[in-house]
Symmetry: C2
Subunit: 339 residues, 2 copies
DNA sequence: GTGAAAGCGCTAACAG
DNA sequence: CTGTTAGCGCTTTCAC
């Protein structure tokens, strides 16, 4: 592993000059630049990231924090990760996914000492303790998600409020008046207080009350079984229900089965709409599930941009970016023959 | 951010002494130790990871490389990640997931300069170029997976050969003689040469030939549609087929639908067995899919152990650890009433 | 048992 | 335009 000094010696220049051509920090004559570059090539110089970080107090690495416990890695999560990573890469940064305790306890040693220039938080809870830790540590950060009071925080998030309204609007236009909402049961888990659920639920409740619609909320357990249970609970609470919003990918299949078992045909008797899910997920079902697609890639990109602009000082204002899910109905692209 | 020197001043000792108590490198009197620790607490000393890394040439960070393109983040992938991270944490390391070009081109600048002490490769192809790059860089690494010739490499992997044999054994015991195998179509993608597929396929072909069984292999496209197409292709090639192995989670549902549409009842007419998948995936189906469960957590743990032992010099021998998938039938735990 | 001091490899003034 | 040099914060001999 060649050092910068060795390259300098080889090229017959000073170490500073090498540094300048490596970083483009200052103008260097084409002639010397060439000599330096040749030396670098010959010595296979790669540069020591750690030394550079110590001297410059920046690593050009940003971390996306992922809770070590609780939430699984959904396709949408994956979209956040991959798109943010790609954007970071385009802007000269590296993005790594860092598993961190949801309480934020092990955050200090990681982030302090300048191992990463900034972090992106995901899977945000209403009163996420990591925000306080990060603030205290004085590490630049951006949220994918929102805490209860996020006015002073930089964030990008799905606009769950609009998404729910749009969903209900869509179904109302189809003639539905009696709704159900299926959420994950996270009470008592480390992910309790998960903001998307809470926002979806309260928006839903307010909306149905406001419009004089029927609205039943149930919390489902894991997998198909949870979905079947949800169907049963829903129909017990409101046998007349005709539209269900489901925000729980792994139970969507079970929900359909449960509705079928209860003598409801989908979509003739009951419409089912998956909320904040992904195309990959919708496509696993047959007929394909109508879905409010989460704008995962767009938000991941935006989050990376927001953080990097904060780091580079490119932009001064706090990003507050909300994007609703977009409707993709089962029919719009499904080339599926009727079963 | 307090520095070690500040702590030393506060405690009235030298910086070396602080270093000794922080790292436990040398014996320090309980009395001084206490003074130092008190000073650390008062100054909220956290230590600069980067400076330590530069001086000691180790970061105690290991990276799990994830291809930026091609393969999605499956539940099994997630298990590798989370379990390896947990094990690393238990052994005093941090594990991060690093998105890297599958060709290994951007590997140099990351890994050189000692940003990470070692790496774990996943999603390994038969002739994975990353292996050469890493070898060239002299970075310690371990594979989750195997290249074509992995005798000289440290690896842990699913024992696909045994898994396929066990699967066919199981189904043969149930009376099946005519098999199908559904694989993902990755020809021409960056993940072409993905080892699990190739091993599963060749083992399957050899096995059916050897035993005089019928064996049809088809490659499926994405999602439910791909699964339905696979069912059709399978039954066209062998209308008498009665057992299908499917190694493609997102198409399993579609496969069932396709079989149903073709007038085959599952499991009465055709048995379906999902290969190297996860419980979470199996549980999304109803009735639950019989599955050869991938030992994701065990392998993730083993991979972390193998790499860390290599780094710490704890163990000298090359780990070559293979673990087959374990059968979980639809009936064994499903409390589901017949539909 | 504790301290002094020489780096680790690079950045960034400041001179020239 | 290029070189000198003083750190960045910590580890680690080697003395005392």
């Amino acid at each position: 592993m060649a050092t910068m000094q060795q390259v300098a010696d080889r090229a017959g220049v000073s170490i500073a000059t090498v540094s300048f051509v490596v970083n483009g920090t200052k103008y260097v004559t084409p002639a010397t630049t060439d000599r330096v570059k040749a030396a670098m090539r010959e010595l296979k110089f790669r540069g020591n990231v750690v030394a550079r970080a110590l001297a410059s107090r920046r690593t050009r690495i940003i971390a996306l924090l992922f809770p070590t416990t609780g939430n699984r890695f959904s396709p949408t999560t994956s979209e956040f990760f991959m798109s943010a990573a790609q954007r970071a890469s385009e802007r000269g940064y590296h993005l790594v996914l860092w598993p961190v305790d949801p309480a934020g306890d092990d955050l200090d040693d990681l982030v302090s000492g300048g191992l990463v220039d900034g972090v992106i938080l995901m899977e945000v809870r209403m009163d996420d303790p990591r925000v306080a830790v990060l603030t205290d540590l004085e590490v630049p950060f951006t949220l994918i998600g929102r805490t209860r009071d996020s006015a002073g925080l930089p964030f990008v998030d799905i606009d769950f409020e609009t998404t729910i309204v749009d969903s209900v609007d869509h179904l109302t236009a189809l003639g539905h008046r009696r709704f159900g909402l299926v959420l994950e049961d996270i009470e008592g888990t480390p992910m309790a207080g998960y903001a998307p659920h809470l926002r979806a639920e309260s928006t839903f409740r307010e909306l149905v009350a406001e419009r004089g619609l029927a609205g039943t909320v149930v919390y489902a357990g894991a997998g198909s079984e949870g979905g079947r249970g949800a169907a049963e609970a829903l129909l017990t609470a409101d046998p007349e229900l005709s539209a269900v919003l489901v925000m729980k990918d792994d139970s969507a299949g079970g929900l359909l089965v449960g509705l079928f078992d209860a003598g409801r045909r989908v979509p003739e008797d009951v419409s089912v709409l998956s909320i904040a899910s992904s195309a990959a997920n919708a496509d696993q079902h047959y007929p394909r599930l109508s879905t409010m697609l989460a704008p995962g890639r767009e938000l991941g990109t935006r989050a990376a941009d927001a953080l990097i602009e904060q780091l580079d000082g490119t932009s001064a204002d706090l990003p507050h970016f909300l994007l609703p899910c977009t409707l993709r109905t089962a029919e719009s692209t499904a080339a599926a023959p009727a079963r």
